[in-house]
């Protein structure tokens, strides 16, 4: 081969060797810097903790502690320090912490980042302001709901939820379900942070008084008359699922009549959600007849109906429960047997008879459940 090739190779070799050395240097330096940084952070946190606890106790006043804690270069550290307290505390301690954060310009700093930061900074800012339950940043966060970056929509929704402004609930729900690839349970998770205050709104939605529309979302009180929002989502029942799950999660008893109303026309998935909600709330409307649901063609409905039976104690359904001991699905058989075991002596008697009986699956499940209960066969 000719000389130029050799020279190229030589250059390549030198370049490679240099890069490798550089990378190695970066590793070494980074390790050193990280450990130094970590030590500094730990020391700072200790210092701050001492001050903070005294402040909460009242031994240090706001001006004094703010003077000592304020640090323009360490906002992220301050956030990391305060974040567990903000997430886990409530009441006067939370309020005092928030006031302190405002005084040391933490809130101001992140409000700025929310408007003008890079993508990841905006997301972090939304997280921070949400944890601080900042109501003033609401407009900023609402504008993020229309972002094409899922991360921003997600952070903004969570931030809005924590800020407690229930008027933004539907905007956030729409953004999560329509603008992102979020599953409905992922959306439910985030929206649950709104707290019980949105329960009445959800009831009104399920009653059809509010619809969700694609278009401009305005932050106006929904107390005004019907605001039409057009449903544009791929899966309309996703909204219902979310709301029903949340009503169950909040144990909102006042939703029971609405849920009952929905049950009549609902598709099987929705029925399951409603039954789960009843179980969560711990109560079922008295005049719901479980029998058709116990015999529903979809096994999950039968399953949850059997579980929900204990909320009614309807003795007329017992023969159906007995029949379900031979259901195709193990879960249905199990829950029916469990239901019977809670049906008093007559229920137990049925199980005892079935345990000895000729039908295999019924016998197996009956004896299993009786054994679980510690009941003699």
């Amino acid at each position: 081969m000719i000389d130029p090739y050799l020279r190229i190779l030589l250059y390549i070799i030198i370049v490679l060797a240099v890069i490798i050395t550089l990378l190695l240097l970066v590793i070494v330096i980074n390790r050193y810097l990280v450990s130094v940084n970590k030590a500094k952070f730990t020391a700072k946190k200790q210092e701050w903790e001492g001050l903070y606890l005294n402040y909460l106790q009242g031994d240090l006043n706001l001006i004094e502690i703010a003077g000592l804690m304020k640090d323009k270069k360490r906002y992220y550290w301050l956030w990391r320090f305060f974040s567990p307290y903000l997430d886990m505390l409530d009441g006067s301690d939370f309020d005092k912490t928030k006031v302190l954060c405002r005084e040391i310009s933490l809130i101001g700093h992140y409000k700025q980042k929310l408007e003008h930061g890079k993508l990841s900074e905006k997301a972090t800012a939304a997280r921070v302001l949400g944890a601080l339950r900042c109501k003033e940043s609401v407009t900023g966060m609402i504008s993020l709901l229309d972002s094409k970056h899922q991360l921003l929509v997600q952070s903004a929704s969570l931030g809005l939820a924590k800020s407690g402004k229930s008027e933004t609930f539907f905007s956030a729900a729409r953004a999560l379900l329509d603008n992102t690839y979020f599953t409905y349970e992922g959306a439910t998770e985030i929206l649950s942070a709104y707290g019980e205050s949105v329960a009445p709104l959800m009831v009104r939605f399920l009653e059809g008084e509010i619809e969700i529309l694609n278009g401009e979302t305005k932050d106006e009180s929904l107390e005004k008359k019907k605001k039409p929002f057009e449903l544009k989502t791929v899966d309309p029942s996703a909204y219902n699922s979310v709301m029903i799950d949340l009503l169950g999660f909040f144990k909102y008893r006042e939703a029971l009549p609405t849920l009952q109303g929905l049950m009549k026309e609902a598709d099987p998935e929705t029925i399951v959600h409603i039954l789960k909600a009843f179980l969560s709330i711990g109560e079922m409307p008295a005049n719901i007849d479980l029998k058709p649901y116990l015999e529903h063609r979809y096994w999950v409905v039968r399953n949850f109906s059997a579980r929900a039976w204990r909320l009614t104690g309807d003795r007329k359904a017992i023969p159906i429960l007995e029949k379900l001991l031979q259901d195709q699905s193990w879960w249905v058989r199990f829950n029916s047997a469990e239901a019977l075991s809670e049906a008093g002596e007559s229920g137990l008697e049925i199980l005892r008879i079935k345990a000895e009986g000729p039908e295999e699956s019924a016998a197996a499940i009956s004896s299993y459940v009786l054994r679980r209960r510690g009941v003699e066969l």
Partner: protein, 123 residues
């Protein structure tokens, strides 16, 4: 009471742990801190604690496991369980296993202390 009562604070977040411990100390209690389930169990069984504030989500052994192992040995030991609202099953389980009271996060430390006093006062 001339002797200080010893409270075991089992909470895996170190900051929160120290906060609770600090407040309890200001109220006149002595405090033992545990940052994970194993430490918590150890302290609960081997130290002369008067009550436990027990976080459920902890590394190594969660609060439920700790409670399961402590109750047979110390059936009268007051336990206040601390958890997040969405972990309902944990709450039910804990109460069934003999926890005396519970608090859900986010919580107010003063309320925790109130409950503690109640639960200690009733023995």
């Amino acid at each position: 009471m001339t002797e200080k009562q010893i409270i075991l604070v089992a909470e895996d977040d170190p900051g929160l742990n120290r906060l609770i411990s600090f407040k309890l100390q200001k109220e006149g209690y002595q405090v033992i801190s545990a940052l994970d389930g194993k430490e918590a169990l150890n302290a609960a069984l081997n130290e002369n604690v008067s009550a436990i504030t027990l976080d459920i989500m902890m590394p190594f052994l969660d609060g439920i496991q700790v409670l399961k192992k402590v109750r047979p040995v110390k059936p009268d030991l007051p336990v206040i369980v601390l958890t997040v609202k969405s972990r309902e099953n944990d709450l039910h389980q804990a109460l069934e296993l003999g926890a005396n009271a519970y608090m859900t996060k986010p919580f107010q430390p003063e309320q925790l202390i109130e409950k503690l006093k109640q639960v200690l006062g009733s023995i």
